[in-house]
């Protein structure tokens, strides 16, 4: 057996071994009472946009694509979701203090306006997560409304 073949075989074994280390899936399977959508009586079109474009990384439920089962892609995804949830978790939104909720909402507004969210690396693979101009406008309008009502409390 040639050296090159041995290396290839070694890599294959390594790849197979990697498949056994699987990160836990981000799935709570229940809609929590603390979820933003439940709490703020969100209109269904806005809820739909949030779930299609934001909830994969910013909630306790991720819709996993098939390739998430292939390592190391699954590891990368798990890391992204962890970062995203750390920054903002819609499923636990109403457990934040009012001040934090307002901060988060303003950051949401800003990141949608300047197009920094959803991440382009994410929309590249999730075409349905891209925000149309209409969706952007509805999201911005709704977020601004929630900010207004929260700041008046």
């Amino acid at each position: 057996m040639s050296k090159a073949k041995k290396i290839l075989l070694g890599l294959l074994v390594l790849f197979i071994a990697m498949q056994f280390i699987r990160p836990a899936h981000n799935a709570s399977n229940t809609v929590q009472a603390a979820d933003m959508v439940t709490h703020f009586n969100t209109p269904s079109n806005v809820a739909g946009i949030l779930s299609a474009s934001c909830y994969d990384c910013h909630s306790s439920n991720t819709r996993y694509p098939w390739y998430a089962n292939v390592q190391p892609i699954g590891w990368l995804l798990a890391n992204h979701v962890k970062d995203g949830k750390g920054e903002l978790n819609f499923s636990e939104f109403t457990t934040y203090s009012k001040r934090r909720q307002l901060s988060k909402l303003k950051s949401i507004l800003n990141s949608i306006k300047d197009g920094s969210m959803p991440l382009s690396s994410y929309t590249l693979l999730h075409n349905d997560a891209k925000l149309s101009e209409d969706s952007k406008a509805s999201l911005i309008q709704w977020t601004a409304k929630v900010i207004d009502s929260l700041s008046r409390l």
Partner: protein, 192 residues
Amino acid sequence: MKIIVFSIALIATVLSACSNNNSTAKEETKTSDTATTSAPASNITNQQAPSVDEAVTAYLHLKNALTSDNGKEAAEAGKHLHEAMQKLDNASFADNQKKVYADVIEDIKEHAEHISTNGEKIAHQREHFDMLSKDMYDLVKSVKPSQTLYKDHCPMYNDKKGAIWLSEMKEIKNPYYGKEMLTCGKQQEEVK
């Protein structure tokens, strides 16, 4: 045969690499634990009542960096502010001060962190500075710093909804637009 030995060795290295990672991570959390517990001790040796002065200094440094359109320096100041908030010991605060502290601490730390990691995006730093300034104002209204501060108002920022900032000087130097509109704004209050 050789190949089998080779592959077993490979699997073993991969698996052990993973467990190694875990143990180093644990050690790291341990060391950071000791670091935080030792912080109050050094405050005592300074023989100073815990104060918001260091946080205020870092905030003003940040404000001045934004005034001169220097995102990189703003990032450094943001990092300093984050550290100052981490060190801030609320043990000697009165109950109402503790309440304000609990309300603002996480928010301030988060804004400071974002500002510190976005040295290339000054517009983004300013968005966080807007929210941060409100937190800082609420904090210094409750826990008085040793220096006099001025609460200034910029009517244009935030789609003309306005934004505030804190300053150490009477003169207006607007951090939201930098040299583009340096003297725009109005003093609203003297905080002392």
